[in-house]
Symmetry: C2
Subunit: 189 residues, 2 copies
């Protein structure tokens, strides 16, 4: 993370609010509430929310949903591979929770410009918490002196409390989709 | 890797031959030739080949293609999330090249039983070359003492020379999709 906890611009907060809206839609669908938007030239061009339950596919995280939607649109209008690569290198992704290792790798493979995220992902985070796949520095956790693509700029802690509150309300309901529930639902009076 | 270079069973080689066939289909389509199959109870239930060029989506690796196809099928027949998790934990994946960090993470998230691969992926391999995401041992590269899911059994070096030969023939043709070609095509006489 480059600037966890520092003041965020109005624009950053505005885009993260849209990501939070996506997370709320996920919550309404009984999904783990994580949402994101992808921004190009100050405009939202894709959004995604976690859909692992609906799709019965545990890899359908918000970021993968938004990426696949966007790339399909670009494919439909006939953009070349080089054009796609150029456009994605000018895009920013705003996501309510730190991308996991899979999603951070995907964003690195695609060559996204930058990522803003809300709360940290202490279990599987790929942008600082467990691995630093966004980082192109030789001090990253990758072995063998191999540079993991070029990396991307990454800023955490944007509206983190809202992101955490959504996740908390999901788990307090008791996750209806968990194979083995870890805790009882909170009794509401 | 658990047993790189050791003798492989007839069954292992037979399934890897099917993965190689998928890689050849990718080569015929001017894609980086990587292919895979997913096996349950000794039967192939899904196959995939690299489709990054056709889809203009650099994350559409063979493994992601096969996974998404399979999970969609299981969704269509109405399997519950728990049933899907159980079935995938009994599946093996055979892929011609070591899964990259993104794919190894996805396979770990899904909880696949085991992976057999052909050649190593020295740049982006997530099963021993760069990271060991298949490993559940505390000596893995993950920081903070966090255990990355439960890991999966992984065996490399199965028909590695065939996998390398396919990749070599692709790059010797000159990759027609590379934004900046790294080498001139080999002149054939």
């Amino acid at each position: 993370m480059d600037s966890c906890g520092q003041e965020n611009s109005q624009e950053t907060v505005a885009f993260m609010e849209l990501a939070v809206q996506q997370a709320k839609l996920a919550l309404d669908s009984l999904e783990v509430p994580v949402g994101c938007v992808i921004v190009e030239d100050g405009e939202v061009i894709a959004s995604g929310r976690n859909r692992t339950t609906e799709t019965r596919n545990a890899t359908r995280h918000a970021e993968m949903e938004a990426i696949d939607f966007l790339l399909e649109q670009w494919h439909k209008i006939g953009l070349s591979e080089a054009a796609v690569a150029k456009k994605i290198s000018q895009c920013s992704l705003y996501v309510t929770c730190e991308p996991c290792i899979m999603c951070a790798s995907a964003l690195s493979i695609l060559g996204i410009k930058e990522v803003y995220y809300g709360c940290a992902n202490d279990k599987f985070g790929g942008c600082g918490s467990i691995l630093s796949l966004h980082s192109s520095s030789p001090e990253s956790l990758l072995s063998g002196g191999v540079q993991w693509k070029k990396g991307f700029k990454c800023t955490g802690g944007v509206m983190a409390s809202e992101a955490v509150a959504l996740l908390r309300s999901f788990y307090e309901q008791g996750n209806p989709n968990a194979p083995k529930p870890h805790r009882q639902p909170v009794q509401r009076v």
